[in-house]
Amino acid sequence: MSVDRAATPTTPSTDEFIKGLWRENPVFVQVLGMCPVLAVTNTARNALAMGLATMFVLVGSNVVVSAIRRFVPKQVRIVTYILVIATLVTIVDYSIAALSLELHKALGAFISLIVVNCVILGRAEAFASKNGLWRSFLDGLGMGLGFTFALLCLGAVRELFGMGTLFGAAVLPAAWQDWVIMILPSGGFFTLAGWVLVVNRINQGRARRKDAEAA
Protein backbone atom coordinates (compact mmCIF):
# COMPACT_ATOMS: atom_id res chain seq x y z
CA MET A 1 0.00 0.00 0.00
CA SER A 2 2.99 2.26 -0.35
CA VAL A 3 1.27 3.78 -3.37
CA ASP A 4 -1.38 5.34 -1.17
CA ARG A 5 1.05 6.79 1.31
CA ALA A 6 2.87 8.47 -1.54
CA ALA A 7 -0.35 9.88 -2.97
CA THR A 8 -0.13 13.66 -2.95
CA PRO A 9 -2.91 16.08 -3.82
CA THR A 10 -1.19 16.63 -7.16
CA THR A 11 -2.77 13.49 -8.62
CA PRO A 12 -6.26 14.11 -10.01
CA SER A 13 -8.91 12.96 -7.56
CA THR A 14 -10.60 10.87 -10.27
CA ASP A 15 -7.54 8.63 -10.07
CA GLU A 16 -8.54 7.60 -6.53
CA PHE A 17 -11.77 6.34 -8.01
CA ILE A 18 -10.30 4.53 -11.00
CA LYS A 19 -7.45 2.71 -9.27
CA GLY A 20 -9.77 0.44 -7.28
CA LEU A 21 -11.52 -0.83 -10.36
CA TRP A 22 -8.59 -2.63 -11.91
CA ARG A 23 -5.03 -1.52 -11.13
CA GLU A 24 -5.41 -2.06 -7.36
CA ASN A 25 -8.50 -4.25 -7.44
CA PRO A 26 -8.97 -5.44 -3.84
CA VAL A 27 -9.72 -9.03 -4.79
CA PHE A 28 -7.69 -9.86 -7.89
CA VAL A 29 -4.60 -7.77 -7.20
CA GLN A 30 -4.43 -7.20 -3.43
CA VAL A 31 -6.06 -10.57 -2.55
CA LEU A 32 -7.95 -9.10 0.42
CA GLY A 33 -11.34 -9.93 1.89
CA MET A 34 -11.31 -13.49 0.64
CA CYS A 35 -13.90 -14.93 3.03
CA PRO A 36 -17.03 -13.33 1.55
CA VAL A 37 -15.52 -13.57 -1.93
CA LEU A 38 -15.56 -17.35 -1.77
CA ALA A 39 -18.43 -18.00 0.59
CA VAL A 40 -21.41 -16.17 -0.88
CA THR A 41 -20.59 -16.20 -4.59
CA ASN A 42 -22.43 -19.39 -5.49
CA THR A 43 -25.05 -17.31 -7.32
CA ALA A 44 -24.75 -13.99 -9.14
CA ARG A 45 -27.57 -12.49 -7.08
CA ASN A 46 -25.94 -13.24 -3.72
CA ALA A 47 -22.64 -11.95 -5.06
CA LEU A 48 -24.20 -8.65 -6.17
CA ALA A 49 -25.98 -8.17 -2.83
CA MET A 50 -22.81 -8.88 -0.89
CA GLY A 51 -20.81 -6.52 -3.12
CA LEU A 52 -23.28 -3.68 -2.67
CA ALA A 53 -23.47 -4.20 1.10
CA THR A 54 -19.69 -4.12 1.36
CA MET A 55 -19.51 -1.04 -0.87
CA PHE A 56 -21.94 0.81 1.39
CA VAL A 57 -19.88 0.00 4.49
CA LEU A 58 -16.64 0.85 2.69
CA VAL A 59 -17.84 4.27 1.51
CA GLY A 60 -19.42 5.02 4.89
CA SER A 61 -16.39 4.03 6.94
CA ASN A 62 -14.02 5.89 4.63
CA VAL A 63 -16.06 9.08 4.97
CA VAL A 64 -16.45 8.84 8.76
CA VAL A 65 -12.82 7.89 9.37
CA SER A 66 -11.65 10.71 7.14
CA ALA A 67 -13.92 13.18 8.93
CA ILE A 68 -12.69 12.26 12.41
CA ARG A 69 -9.06 11.64 11.50
CA ARG A 70 -7.79 14.77 13.27
CA PHE A 71 -9.54 13.97 16.57
CA VAL A 72 -8.59 10.32 17.03
CA PRO A 73 -5.43 9.64 19.09
CA LYS A 74 -3.02 7.35 17.30
CA GLN A 75 -3.05 4.65 20.01
CA VAL A 76 -6.77 3.94 19.84
CA ARG A 77 -7.32 4.45 16.12
CA ILE A 78 -7.78 0.79 15.15
CA VAL A 79 -10.39 0.23 17.87
CA THR A 80 -12.19 3.39 16.76
CA TYR A 81 -12.22 2.27 13.13
CA ILE A 82 -13.52 -1.18 14.09
CA LEU A 83 -16.35 0.38 16.12
CA VAL A 84 -17.29 2.68 13.23
CA ILE A 85 -17.30 -0.28 10.84
CA ALA A 86 -19.28 -2.48 13.25
CA THR A 87 -21.94 0.23 13.58
CA LEU A 88 -22.29 0.53 9.80
CA VAL A 89 -22.47 -3.24 9.38
CA THR A 90 -25.22 -3.46 12.00
CA ILE A 91 -27.18 -0.88 9.97
CA VAL A 92 -26.70 -2.91 6.77
CA ASP A 93 -27.61 -6.15 8.53
CA TYR A 94 -30.91 -4.78 9.83
CA SER A 95 -31.69 -3.03 6.51
CA ILE A 96 -31.26 -6.23 4.49
CA ALA A 97 -33.40 -8.15 6.98
CA ALA A 98 -36.11 -5.52 6.53
CA LEU A 99 -35.88 -5.43 2.72
CA SER A 100 -35.62 -9.13 1.91
CA LEU A 101 -35.73 -11.85 4.53
CA GLU A 102 -34.89 -14.45 1.90
CA LEU A 103 -31.68 -12.68 0.92
CA HIS A 104 -30.80 -12.20 4.59
CA LYS A 105 -31.10 -15.95 5.07
CA ALA A 106 -29.00 -16.75 1.99
CA LEU A 107 -26.15 -14.51 3.12
CA GLY A 108 -26.49 -15.57 6.76
CA ALA A 109 -23.69 -14.67 9.12
CA PHE A 110 -21.59 -13.35 6.26
CA ILE A 111 -23.27 -9.94 6.42
CA SER A 112 -22.08 -9.55 10.00
CA LEU A 113 -18.69 -10.81 8.93
CA ILE A 114 -18.22 -7.71 6.75
CA VAL A 115 -16.82 -6.23 9.98
CA VAL A 116 -13.67 -8.32 9.67
CA ASN A 117 -13.29 -7.82 5.92
CA CYS A 118 -9.68 -6.68 5.68
CA VAL A 119 -10.44 -4.49 2.64
CA ILE A 120 -12.46 -2.11 4.79
CA LEU A 121 -10.05 -1.79 7.71
CA GLY A 122 -7.20 -1.68 5.20
CA ARG A 123 -8.67 1.32 3.34
CA ALA A 124 -9.49 3.10 6.60
CA GLU A 125 -5.93 2.71 7.85
CA ALA A 126 -4.02 3.14 4.59
CA PHE A 127 -6.11 5.80 2.91
CA ALA A 128 -8.98 7.47 4.75
CA SER A 129 -6.92 8.29 7.86
CA LYS A 130 -4.51 10.30 5.72
CA ASN A 131 -6.71 11.90 3.10
CA GLY A 132 -9.55 14.39 2.82
CA LEU A 133 -13.27 13.69 2.76
CA TRP A 134 -13.85 13.86 -0.98
CA ARG A 135 -10.86 11.70 -1.91
CA SER A 136 -11.75 9.13 0.73
CA PHE A 137 -15.27 9.00 -0.61
CA LEU A 138 -14.01 8.38 -4.16
CA ASP A 139 -11.50 5.81 -2.92
CA GLY A 140 -14.23 3.90 -1.07
CA LEU A 141 -16.54 4.04 -4.08
CA GLY A 142 -13.84 2.81 -6.46
CA MET A 143 -12.66 0.02 -4.18
CA GLY A 144 -16.28 -0.96 -3.48
CA LEU A 145 -17.09 -1.12 -7.19
CA GLY A 146 -13.94 -3.13 -7.86
CA PHE A 147 -14.90 -5.52 -5.07
CA THR A 148 -18.45 -5.86 -6.40
CA PHE A 149 -17.11 -6.42 -9.92
CA ALA A 150 -14.84 -9.23 -8.69
CA LEU A 151 -17.66 -10.86 -6.72
CA LEU A 152 -19.92 -10.71 -9.78
CA CYS A 153 -17.22 -12.29 -11.97
CA LEU A 154 -17.03 -15.23 -9.58
CA GLY A 155 -20.75 -15.49 -8.88
CA ALA A 156 -21.72 -15.40 -12.56
CA VAL A 157 -19.25 -18.13 -13.55
CA ARG A 158 -20.17 -20.37 -10.62
CA GLU A 159 -23.93 -19.99 -11.16
CA LEU A 160 -23.66 -20.44 -14.92
CA PHE A 161 -21.74 -23.71 -14.76
CA GLY A 162 -23.16 -24.95 -11.48
CA MET A 163 -26.85 -24.44 -12.22
CA GLY A 164 -27.02 -23.35 -15.86
CA THR A 165 -28.69 -20.06 -14.88
CA LEU A 166 -27.72 -16.42 -14.53
CA PHE A 167 -29.50 -14.25 -11.93
CA GLY A 168 -32.01 -17.10 -11.67
CA ALA A 169 -32.91 -17.08 -15.38
CA ALA A 170 -32.10 -20.20 -17.42
CA VAL A 171 -29.28 -19.46 -19.86
CA LEU A 172 -27.81 -22.77 -20.89
CA PRO A 173 -29.97 -25.33 -22.78
CA ALA A 174 -31.94 -27.84 -20.73
CA ALA A 175 -29.60 -30.65 -21.84
CA TRP A 176 -26.79 -28.98 -19.83
CA GLN A 177 -25.35 -31.21 -17.13
CA ASP A 178 -24.79 -29.11 -14.01
CA TRP A 179 -21.25 -29.04 -12.68
CA VAL A 180 -22.24 -29.47 -9.06
CA ILE A 181 -18.68 -28.86 -7.90
CA MET A 182 -18.92 -25.21 -8.99
CA ILE A 183 -21.48 -24.31 -6.32
CA LEU A 184 -19.67 -26.35 -3.66
CA PRO A 185 -16.87 -24.75 -1.61
CA SER A 186 -14.11 -26.24 -3.74
CA GLY A 187 -15.62 -24.65 -6.85
CA GLY A 188 -15.09 -21.27 -5.22
CA PHE A 189 -11.37 -21.89 -4.83
CA PHE A 190 -11.02 -23.17 -8.41
CA THR A 191 -13.00 -20.30 -9.95
CA LEU A 192 -11.02 -17.69 -8.05
CA ALA A 193 -7.76 -19.38 -9.07
CA GLY A 194 -8.95 -19.26 -12.68
CA TRP A 195 -9.77 -15.54 -12.48
CA VAL A 196 -6.42 -14.77 -10.84
CA LEU A 197 -4.77 -16.53 -13.78
CA VAL A 198 -6.77 -14.47 -16.29
CA VAL A 199 -5.90 -11.21 -14.51
CA ASN A 200 -2.21 -12.18 -14.25
CA ARG A 201 -2.15 -12.99 -17.97
CA ILE A 202 -3.70 -9.65 -18.95
CA ASN A 203 -1.36 -7.67 -16.70
CA GLN A 204 1.67 -9.59 -17.98
CA GLY A 205 0.69 -8.84 -21.58
CA ARG A 206 0.30 -5.15 -20.73
CA ALA A 207 3.67 -4.99 -19.00
CA ARG A 208 5.34 -6.65 -21.98
CA ARG A 209 3.74 -4.19 -24.40
CA LYS A 210 4.92 -1.29 -22.25
CA ASP A 211 8.45 -2.70 -22.23
CA ALA A 212 8.34 -3.07 -26.00
CA GLU A 213 7.25 0.58 -26.36
CA ALA A 214 10.00 1.77 -24.06
CA ALA A 215 12.68 -0.17 -25.91
Binding site: A86, V116, S186, L197, N200, Q204
Partner: protein
Protein backbone atom coordinates in the same frame (compact mmCIF):
# COMPACT_ATOMS: atom_id res chain seq x y z
CA UNK B 1 -30.56 -28.31 20.59
CA UNK B 2 -29.85 -31.93 21.38
CA UNK B 3 -26.74 -32.44 19.27
CA UNK B 4 -24.21 -34.67 21.01
CA UNK B 5 -20.90 -33.10 21.98
CA UNK B 6 -18.92 -35.55 19.83
CA UNK B 7 -20.92 -34.70 16.74
CA UNK B 8 -20.45 -30.97 17.34
CA UNK B 9 -16.70 -31.46 17.63
CA UNK B 10 -16.38 -33.69 14.55
CA UNK B 11 -18.63 -31.46 12.51
CA UNK B 12 -16.64 -28.31 13.33
CA UNK B 13 -13.26 -29.97 12.86
CA UNK B 14 -13.80 -32.11 9.77
CA UNK B 15 -17.19 -32.15 8.02
CA UNK B 16 -17.82 -28.42 8.12
CA UNK B 17 -14.18 -27.42 8.43
CA UNK B 18 -14.08 -23.67 9.06
CA UNK B 19 -11.47 -22.98 6.42
CA UNK B 20 -12.28 -25.44 3.67
CA UNK B 21 -16.07 -25.58 3.83
CA UNK B 22 -17.05 -22.19 5.23
CA UNK B 23 -14.18 -20.04 3.99
CA UNK B 24 -13.58 -18.53 7.40
CA UNK B 25 -10.04 -17.47 8.22
CA UNK B 26 -8.87 -17.59 4.62
CA UNK B 27 -6.46 -14.66 5.03
CA UNK B 28 -4.09 -16.37 7.53
CA UNK B 29 -4.68 -19.62 5.64
CA UNK B 30 -3.25 -18.12 2.46
CA UNK B 31 -0.79 -15.79 4.18
CA UNK B 32 0.76 -17.69 7.11
CA UNK B 33 0.67 -21.24 5.84
CA UNK B 34 4.05 -21.00 4.11
CA UNK B 35 6.01 -22.84 6.80
CA UNK B 36 5.03 -25.81 8.91
CA UNK B 37 6.41 -24.64 12.28
CA UNK B 38 4.69 -21.24 12.07
CA UNK B 39 1.45 -22.89 11.02
CA UNK B 40 1.34 -25.07 14.14
CA UNK B 41 1.97 -22.14 16.50
CA UNK B 42 -0.53 -19.96 14.68
CA UNK B 43 -3.12 -22.71 14.98
CA UNK B 44 -2.48 -22.91 18.71
CA UNK B 45 -2.84 -19.16 19.22
CA UNK B 46 -6.05 -19.02 17.17
CA UNK B 47 -7.55 -21.98 19.04
CA UNK B 48 -6.85 -20.27 22.36
CA UNK B 49 -8.45 -16.99 21.25
CA UNK B 50 -11.40 -18.96 19.90
CA UNK B 51 -12.02 -20.71 23.23
CA UNK B 52 -11.74 -17.50 25.25
CA UNK B 53 -13.87 -15.37 22.94
CA UNK B 54 -16.47 -18.11 22.57
CA UNK B 55 -16.83 -18.24 26.36
CA UNK B 56 -17.10 -14.45 26.51
CA UNK B 57 -19.65 -14.46 23.69
CA UNK B 58 -21.85 -16.82 25.70
CA UNK B 59 -21.75 -14.34 28.57
CA UNK B 60 -22.44 -11.38 26.30
CA UNK B 61 -25.46 -13.12 24.82
CA UNK B 62 -26.92 -13.60 28.30
CA UNK B 63 -26.38 -9.95 29.20
CA UNK B 64 -27.78 -8.68 25.89
CA UNK B 65 -30.82 -10.93 26.22
CA UNK B 66 -31.37 -9.55 29.72
CA UNK B 67 -31.23 -5.89 28.65
CA UNK B 68 -33.00 -6.64 25.36
CA UNK B 69 -30.45 -5.06 23.02
CA UNK B 70 -29.57 -7.56 20.27
CA UNK B 71 -28.33 -4.76 17.97
CA UNK B 72 -25.32 -4.30 20.25
CA UNK B 73 -24.20 -7.90 19.68
CA UNK B 74 -21.80 -7.34 16.80
CA UNK B 75 -20.07 -4.39 18.45
CA UNK B 76 -19.64 -6.18 21.77
CA UNK B 77 -18.31 -9.33 20.10
CA UNK B 78 -15.67 -7.47 18.15
CA UNK B 79 -14.65 -5.48 21.22
CA UNK B 80 -14.23 -8.68 23.25
CA UNK B 81 -12.21 -10.36 20.51
CA UNK B 82 -9.91 -7.36 20.13
CA UNK B 83 -9.25 -7.27 23.89
CA UNK B 84 -8.67 -11.03 24.05
CA UNK B 85 -6.09 -10.81 21.30
CA UNK B 86 -4.43 -7.93 23.13
CA UNK B 87 -4.34 -10.04 26.29
CA UNK B 88 -2.86 -13.05 24.50
CA UNK B 89 -0.26 -10.79 22.93
CA UNK B 90 0.85 -9.40 26.31
CA UNK B 91 0.81 -12.89 27.85
CA UNK B 92 2.98 -14.44 25.12
CA UNK B 93 5.36 -11.47 25.18
CA UNK B 94 5.88 -11.98 28.89
CA UNK B 95 6.08 -15.78 28.93
CA UNK B 96 7.89 -16.54 25.69
CA UNK B 97 9.56 -13.63 23.87
CA UNK B 98 10.88 -16.08 21.24
CA UNK B 99 7.41 -17.24 20.23
CA UNK B 100 6.30 -13.60 20.27
CA UNK B 101 8.95 -12.67 17.71
CA UNK B 102 8.16 -15.68 15.54
CA UNK B 103 4.47 -14.88 15.28
CA UNK B 104 5.17 -11.20 14.64
CA UNK B 105 2.50 -9.25 12.81
CA UNK B 106 0.18 -12.26 12.57
CA UNK B 107 -0.61 -12.09 16.27
CA UNK B 108 -2.52 -8.78 16.23
CA UNK B 109 -4.06 -9.80 12.91
CA UNK B 110 -5.94 -12.59 14.68
CA UNK B 111 -8.46 -9.84 15.53
CA UNK B 112 -9.53 -9.61 11.90
CA UNK B 113 -9.59 -13.38 11.48
CA UNK B 114 -13.18 -14.00 10.48
CA UNK B 115 -13.07 -17.54 11.87
CA UNK B 116 -13.22 -16.12 15.39
CA UNK B 117 -16.09 -13.69 14.87
CA UNK B 118 -17.78 -16.35 12.72
CA UNK B 119 -17.54 -18.83 15.56
CA UNK B 120 -19.18 -16.43 17.99
CA UNK B 121 -21.96 -15.67 15.51
CA UNK B 122 -22.62 -19.30 14.57
CA UNK B 123 -22.87 -20.48 18.16
CA UNK B 124 -25.36 -17.68 18.80
CA UNK B 125 -27.44 -18.51 15.73
CA UNK B 126 -27.58 -22.18 16.68
CA UNK B 127 -28.37 -21.49 20.33
CA UNK B 128 -25.62 -23.65 21.80
CA UNK B 129 -25.41 -23.87 25.60
CA UNK B 130 -22.10 -22.96 27.32
CA UNK B 131 -20.65 -26.49 27.20
CA UNK B 132 -21.66 -27.03 23.58
CA UNK B 133 -20.09 -23.67 22.71
CA UNK B 134 -16.82 -24.69 24.35
CA UNK B 135 -16.69 -27.97 22.41
CA UNK B 136 -17.63 -26.12 19.23
CA UNK B 137 -14.75 -23.69 19.77
CA UNK B 138 -12.28 -26.53 20.40
CA UNK B 139 -13.46 -28.36 17.28
CA UNK B 140 -13.25 -25.26 15.14
CA UNK B 141 -9.75 -24.54 16.45
CA UNK B 142 -8.63 -28.09 15.74
CA UNK B 143 -10.07 -27.91 12.24
CA UNK B 144 -8.37 -24.58 11.58
CA UNK B 145 -5.02 -25.89 12.79
CA UNK B 146 -5.43 -29.06 10.72
CA UNK B 147 -6.16 -27.12 7.52
CA UNK B 148 -3.28 -24.69 8.17
CA UNK B 149 -0.79 -27.50 8.84
CA UNK B 150 -1.86 -29.56 5.80
CA UNK B 151 -1.59 -26.49 3.60
CA UNK B 152 1.83 -25.57 4.97
CA UNK B 153 3.12 -29.10 4.37
CA UNK B 154 1.94 -29.05 0.77
CA UNK B 155 3.35 -25.58 0.15
CA UNK B 156 6.77 -26.53 1.51
CA UNK B 157 6.87 -29.30 -1.12
CA UNK B 158 5.40 -27.04 -3.78
CA UNK B 159 8.35 -24.68 -3.41
CA UNK B 160 10.57 -27.42 -4.83
CA UNK B 161 8.28 -28.17 -7.76
CA UNK B 162 8.52 -26.54 -11.14
CA UNK B 163 5.42 -24.38 -11.41
CA UNK B 164 4.84 -22.16 -14.47
CA UNK B 165 5.55 -18.49 -13.76
CA UNK B 166 1.94 -17.50 -14.43
CA UNK B 167 0.46 -19.90 -11.85
CA UNK B 168 3.04 -19.34 -9.12
CA UNK B 169 1.83 -17.65 -5.93
CA UNK B 170 -1.84 -16.97 -5.27
CA UNK B 171 -3.26 -19.08 -8.09
CA UNK B 172 -1.27 -22.19 -7.15
CA UNK B 173 -2.25 -21.83 -3.49
CA UNK B 174 -5.91 -21.50 -4.45
CA UNK B 175 -5.78 -24.62 -6.64
CA UNK B 176 -4.25 -26.59 -3.76
CA UNK B 177 -6.90 -25.22 -1.39
CA UNK B 178 -9.61 -26.32 -3.82
CA UNK B 179 -8.21 -29.85 -3.95
CA UNK B 180 -7.99 -29.98 -0.14
CA UNK B 181 -11.60 -28.85 0.01
CA UNK B 182 -12.61 -31.69 -2.33
CA UNK B 183 -10.75 -34.11 -0.07
CA UNK B 184 -12.58 -32.82 3.02
CA UNK B 185 -15.91 -33.40 1.27
CA UNK B 186 -15.16 -37.08 1.83
CA UNK B 187 -15.95 -36.52 5.52
CA UNK B 188 -19.57 -35.64 4.72
CA UNK B 189 -22.01 -37.63 6.80
CA UNK B 190 -19.45 -38.44 9.49
CA UNK B 191 -20.76 -38.22 13.04
CA UNK B 192 -24.35 -37.44 12.11
Amino acid sequence: MSESLASIFLSAALVNNFVLAWFLGICPFLGVSGRLSTAVRMGGAVTFVMVVSSTCATGINMVLAAIDAPYLRLISFIAVIASTVQLVEMFIKKVSPTLFRQLGIFLPLITTNCAILGLALFQTNRGYNPIQSLVFALGAGAGFTLALVLMAGIREKLDLAEVPQLVRGTAATLFVAGLLSVAFMGFAGLGS
